[in-house]
């Protein structure tokens, strides 16, 4: 969330690690806290993502998982072993089927991209505080972005053919629930000299464990399932450090390092069947993963008068996305390994008397390589800008600042076509990086071959290709009281 909105409580804009804003420096660059006055700020912000995902049409029914007389669940290898994750016949997946005697619940339709996400608008409250100590050389800060509605949302999905069993849709990888998690940061900045300040901060995340023991008396009547749960939630801390150096009155250099952040959720479950069979498994989930981030920036006052200042600022943030861990705790394979990225931002600040304005422009390359294989991570290069205004005034003998900003990102349209998967007549998946053949060519049923099993059959929602594009719009206002 911090990565998308930047500083929302002052002149930080999209370069909050380089330009002093407000209490949000506690997260972006705690060294800047030493330059800020004591104050309390509150704000309101709205972010709307409008990201569309378009799937290419399937070219023919020969690529469908067929309806198998006798039931696809009974398809095996020639030696009688299971084919693993049994796919759902494509037509039944798309259209569902009515309840039958053998399947009284039927199957609801799961049309491709019928449950896609990417269009959401979320409102947030922001709160921050800066406290000064030690003759104003030490600044302590806290900053939080709290989503309205749910305290935090954690939505997992698979980014390959496994998602057919769930939403049968593709979802933007770096948006969605990542924009609804609680974002809290605190830090301390100490001014070693008039030129140099250092800072240490941390952001808070959650780490939860849930274990569930279940007893299934009748697999056809799960309403009678018995279940106990044990849950624990811990807070994890991700540190960051910052540096601020002013070699001359006009120049300002900054540096920041942020350690990886994530929300861990471990789910363990045990099923005990009436037959006495018991099986256990665990499932690690990872949400809101942010990699190592190293930032550097510089600002220069082109004009520096008593009542007027014009500053240009530039910064860049290196993000080590090659370590990315998706919501199911999986990392992209080398053939589709993610890029590390460098995101540059340039901008300008103009301060005249009590009024300040800013403009920032940013280009953020996507870390996701073209998804021409099995995986379907959806992401786009992002071009954006933010404008803002800040006004200082006095009310009832108390200094205050009020301001607002608006941001817009354009997610540059992107389209990718899947590579062809070579035939695998022996039934093995020899090309694991490519779209998987979910019905092996040598599969059998009732001792005979399965019609329609030759070549590729897949329900991968992203096959044979998909595109994505969209915009992200946001805006907010804030009030800072400086007693």
């Amino acid at each position: 969330m911090f990565d998308l909105t930047g500083g929302t409580d002052g002149m930080g804009g999209l370069q909050p690690g380089t330009v002093e804003g407000g209490a949000s420096a506690a997260y972006f660059n705690p060294a800047l806290l030493s330059d800020l006055p004591f104050g309390v700020s509150v704000g309101f912000m709205v972010v709307s993502t409008q990201i569309g995902v378009t799937l290419a049409a399937r070219p023919g029914t020969q690529f469908d998982v067929p309806v198998v007389p006798g039931g696809i669940a009974n398809v095996t290898y020639p030696n009688g072993s299971s084919i693993g994750n049994v796919p759902i016949p494509t037509s039944q997946l798309q259209n569902g089927f009515a309840p039958t005697l053998g399947n009284p619940a039927g199957l609801p339709a799961k049309p491709r991209q019928g449950a896609g996400t990417g269009h959401q608008t979320t409102a947030y409250e922001t709160v921050g505080i800066v406290v000064k100590l030690l003759d104003n050389r030490l600044g302590l800060g806290f900053y939080g972005i709290i989503p309205d509605g749910n305290f935090t949302e954690l939505d997992a999905f698979y980014s390959d053919e496994r998602e057919q069993f769930l939403s049968n849709s593709l979802h933007p990888e770096l948006y969605g629930d990542r924009l609804t998690s609680l974002s809290l940061g605190f830090g301390a900045g100490y001014k070693i000299s008039d030129e140099l300040a250092v800072g240490l901060g941390a952001s808070l995340s959650l780490a939860a464990n849930v274990t569930a023991g279940t007893y299934v008396s009748n697999i056809n009547a799960l309403g009678h399932l018995l279940l106990d749960t044990n849950a624990s939630v811990n807070v994890s801390v991700s540190p960051n450090v910052g540096l601020s150096y002013r070699p001359t009155p006009r120049w300002h250099f900054t540096g920041t390092v942020h350690a990886p952040e994530k929300i861990d959720l471990a789910i363990g479950f045990t099923f005990l069947l009436a037959t006495g069979t018991q099986q256990s498994s665990t499932l690690p989930l990872v949400y809101d993963y942010m990699p190592w981030q190293i930032g550097a920036g510089a600002a220069y006052d082109i004009v520096q008068h008593k009542d007027e200042t014009l500053t240009v600022a530039g910064s860049a943030v290196f993000q080590k996305w090659s370590d990315y861990v998706d919501r199911h705790g999986e990392t992209p394979i080398p053939a589709y390994g993610w890029y590390d990225t460098l995101t540059p931002t340039v901008g300008m600040r103009y301060q005249r008397d009590a009024t300040g304005t800013f403009l920032d422009l940013q280009y953020k390359p996507s870390p996701v390589p073209p998804q021409t294989g099995r995986s379907d991570y959806v992401d786009n290069d992002r071009l954006g800008g933010e404008v803002g205004v800040d006004y200082a005034f006095t009310f009832m003998h108390t200094s205050m600042r009020v301001g607002g900003q608006a941001l817009v990102y354009w997610l540059i349209p992107r389209y990718q076509t899947k590579l062809a998967t070579p035939n695998e007549p022996d039934g093995f998946n020899h090309y694991p990086a490519l779209v998987a053949d979910e019905l092996p060519d040598n599969s059998v049923i009732n001792g005979g071959p399965v019609a329609g099993s030759q070549g590729l059959q897949t329900n991968n929602p992203g096959w044979p290709g998909f595109g994505s594009a969209g915009v992200v719009l946001g805006g907010g206002i804030y009030l800072t009281v400086i007693p």
Partner: protein, 180 residues
């Protein structure tokens, strides 16, 4: 205005990507080692989910597949001397930018995972060091119990007289050790 356009252009040109895909998506992966690499052998040798990746697999090979692939082959014919390792390949030192090398990432246990780190150099024969951002051992090896150990997927990755057999290192990775 021209200055602004210039700055914007610099910003666009300055945006960079590093690393990224480090393997051929058409790389052929043998299904299993030696003579049991046929589906007719049944689940005992193949596993229920080997041909189509399992539900706990990574973005590519399943974790089980990856473990299988990194198991020493003992020179068995037909075994691909490769494995599914996330992020980067510490055995062959691929997937990182030119300034870094790939080391094992012991903090990720769900599947074998590499980590791009800086080489901190050796300290003249002293114990090696390994941190989340640095490694003192040369590429292709990793620091285990204070000593540099060569990583491997199969025997051909090891020096003469050594076999890819020691699994006491980071989970999911195998080390070269004297052949028994």
């Amino acid at each position: 205005m021209k200055r602004w356009l210039g700055l914007a252009s610099i910003a666009l040109l300055g945006s960079c990507k590093f690393g990224g895909p480090s393997a051929n998506p058409y790389a052929y992966v043998a299904s299993d080692s030696g003579d049991d690499a046929t589906p007719e052998d049944g689940p005992s040798s193949q596993g229920d989910d080997a041909p189509v990746r399992s539900d706990d697999s990574g973005g590519g090979l399943g974790a089980d597949d990856a473990d299988d692939a990194s198991t020493p082959d003992g020179g068995a014919a037909g075994k691909a001397c490769d494995a599914a390792v996330a992020a980067c390949d510490p055995v062959h030192n691929t997937g990182c930018n030119p300034l870094q090398q790939c080391d094992v990432n012991p903090s990720v246990t769900a599947m074998p995972t590499g980590n791009c780190v800086f080489n901190s150099g050796s300290e003249g024969g002293g114990a090696c060091t390994m941190t989340p951002i640095s490694e003192s051992c040369p590429p292709g090896s990793t620091c285990v119990s204070g000593g540099c150990r060569s990583l491997c997927y199969c025997n051909t990755d090891c020096a003469a007289g050594q076999c890819c057999s020691d699994t006491t290192g980071a989970q999911g990775f195998t080390l070269c050790a004297p052949c028994m």
